[in-house]
């Protein structure tokens, strides 16, 4: 079983911007490790001769002409679920 260390879990949590308590770290460690085991199982599948696939629709060249289309929904409405606004800006926790 591929066991992830608590440090590795901590780093993944940081990248995902999720805060985990010490107890949650332990739980996440065993859960994520079991997910990795499942990935191992999949990786053992024989894929010789199978083409690498990241698209399943078979579509190509889906594009649009370079034309401006004003959004029919008012910006105010688009941002209605924003917790905090100031002078038209979205207000967030201080970064930098």
């Amino acid at each position: 079983m591929a066991k992830l260390s608590l440090d590795e879990i901590q780093k993944v949590a940081l990248l995902a911007r999720i805060e985990l308590s010490d107890d949650e770290l332990v739980v996440a460690s065993s859960e994520i490790s079991s997910i990795l085991d499942f990935v191992d199982t999949i990786q053992n599948t024989d894929t010789a001769g199978v083409e690498l696939t990241s698209q399943v629709t078979g579509l190509t060249d889906v594009w649009r002409e370079d034309l401006v289309e004003k959004c029919a929904i008012a910006p105010k409405l688009l941002l209605a679920s924003t917790p905090d606004m100031q002078d038209g800006y979205v207000k967030v926790k201080k970064v930098l």
Partner: protein
């Protein structure tokens, strides 16, 4: 002391001058827009939305490939770069990792009178993030998503650049290419053209550890930051230290580079193929069709200008202005003779630039500039008169019309000029005596008088010639 040589690689981010954003129809020009007004469910990443590729951005990349002497990938696709930051609504950036649209090119730069090729590893398309501002002293930041989804091209050079001077020339040349192809507005104050510089130094053939100078937005700062960083690295090595691979910023006020602890490493971005965007396939005939719209490349103009013995500054003035290049090319084909073409260049880098500073809507054409030069060349008007009517021509007047209208034809007729000169000699006995007793400098006074009386319309070489003849009588 060892001889350390720098090795520099550059990543440039140029904003594409499309009408709409990369993956939605929002207006791509938000210079005069209020914050968060050019937004829609797609660029805000509201649930259930899907991006659609802007064909205009693809076409611009195809043009750029020609400017970079590069291949256009026949199949190109997009990837996700995952990171969380308040300026990124989706929590990832759509970019190109595996199959960038432009590959294996080069840019020619002119250094020390010779052309040198700087390799372009690749250039890819991606989207910009929103804009974050940090009000002074506030415990919050503000986000404007108008820029979120603006198309960018990231141009990645090979580490072929060996000095600060070469780096500067390379940046200038790429800038000329993207602006002259109409692919980027080149407004550096608005961050249209930004770059990261990778620098290492070494006294052997093994490359040293590199640092990355992030987010520079002026040529001058690039030069200062590079000079500083190269000197800093030398000082570290000379004192027995080691260079740490790190990201560094440039502090303009203090004129130093400083360490920026970066939170994420490349593999932390967990790139994977963008499932929402099918790949783009480009046929050779389509690529040819788009590239055939390009009439002239800056490097060809530069080579022309080098042949006309223009210095680098004069070349850059022209090359930074695609519209002026177009005027130059038209004047060049009308004038044909190198000495006259050189005159056209002199107008364009001289008087024309001063007029451009105030006249934002010039109407000068290559044809009219050529006509003006021909009028002087054939002696119809003096170069002084040409200078005096140039502003009118830039404002839209036809040279021959304005000469006729204002009665500015040069006086070259001998008898007419002789009468004027004879009168001046009579009116000025003292200077005449001076001249006859050997003071040749008073000749300038006489010529000036003739010019005054003819309102600058006398042919100067003719005046000189007649003046000397008549003074001797």
């Amino acid at each position: 002391m060892s001889q350390y040589k720098p090795t520099i690689g550059i990543e440039i981010h140029a904003q594409l001058a499309t009408n709409s954003k990369m993956f939605c129809g929002c207006n791509n020009d938000s210079r005069d827009a209020l914050p968060n007004t050019n937004i829609c469910p797609v660029c805000l990443a509201l649930p259930g939305t899907l991006p659609v590729i802007n064909k205009g951005a693809i076409d611009m990349a195809i043009k750029l490939a020609k400017g970079f002497n590069a291949e256009v990938a026949r199949t190109t696709s997009f990837d996700r770069k995952n990171y969380f930051y308040p300026d990124s609504p989706k929590g990832y950036q759509i970019t190109q990792m595996d199959q960038p649209i432009i590959k294996n090119g080069y840019v020619e730069i002119l250094v020390g009178g010779e052309f040198k090729k700087i390799g372009i590893h690749h250039a890819h398309l991606e989207e910009d993030a929103g804009k974050l501002t940090h009000p002074d002293g506030a415990d919050y930041s503000l986000v404007d998503f108008n820029r979120a989804g603006t198309p960018l091209t990231e141009i990645v050079s090979e580490p072929d650049i060996k000095s600060t001077e070469q780096a500067k020339r390379y940046l200038q040349e790429v800038y000329n290419i993207v602006t002259s192809l109409g692919v980027c507005n080149g407004d550096m104050e608005h961050g249209n053209f930004k770059f990261d510089l990778n620098v290492s130094i070494s006294d052997s053939s093994t490359l040293g550890t590199r640092t990355e100078l992030k987010n520079l937005n002026s040529f001058r700062n690039a030069e200062r930051a590079l000079n500083y960083e190269i000197a800093r690295q030398i000082a570290v090595l000379e004192s027995g230290g080691v260079i740490e691979q790190e990201t560094r910023g440039w502090n303009d006020t203090k004129a130093v580079t400083f360490s920026q602890r970066s939170k994420e490493q490349a593999n932390d971005y967990r790139y994977f193929p963008e499932p929402d965007l099918p790949p783009i396939t480009l046929s050779q005939s389509y690529i040819d069709q788009v590239q055939s719209q390009i009439t002239v490349l800056p490097i060809d103009v530069r080579k022309d200008l080098v042949n006309l013995n223009l210095n680098a500054d004069e070349q850059d003035v022209l090359l930074a202005q695609p519209a002026t290049i177009a005027i130059f090319k038209d004047a060049e084909s009308a004038l044909k003779k190198p000495e006259l073409i050189k005159k056209a260049v002199n107008w364009l880098v001289g008087d024309y630039q001063s007029i451009l500073a105030t006249n934002k809507k010039p109407h000068l054409t290559g044809e009219r500039l050529a006509e003006l030069i021909e009028l002087v060349e054939s002696g119809v008007i003096s170069s002084k008169i040409a200078k005096s009517i140039f502003a009118d021509i830039v404002a839209g007047a036809k040279p021959s019309d304005i000469v006729a209208q204002k009665g500015l034809k040069q006086v070259s007729d001998d008898s007419e000029l002789e009468n004027i000169i004879k009168k001046i000699i009579l009116d000025n006995p003292k200077p005449v005596d001076d001249y006859r007793s050997g003071n040749a400098r008073v000749l300038g006074f006489f010529v000036g008088e003739v010019m005054k009386q003819t309102k600058g319309q006398a042919n100067p070489s003719k005046v000189n010639q007649l003046m000397i003849k008549l003074l001797k009588e």
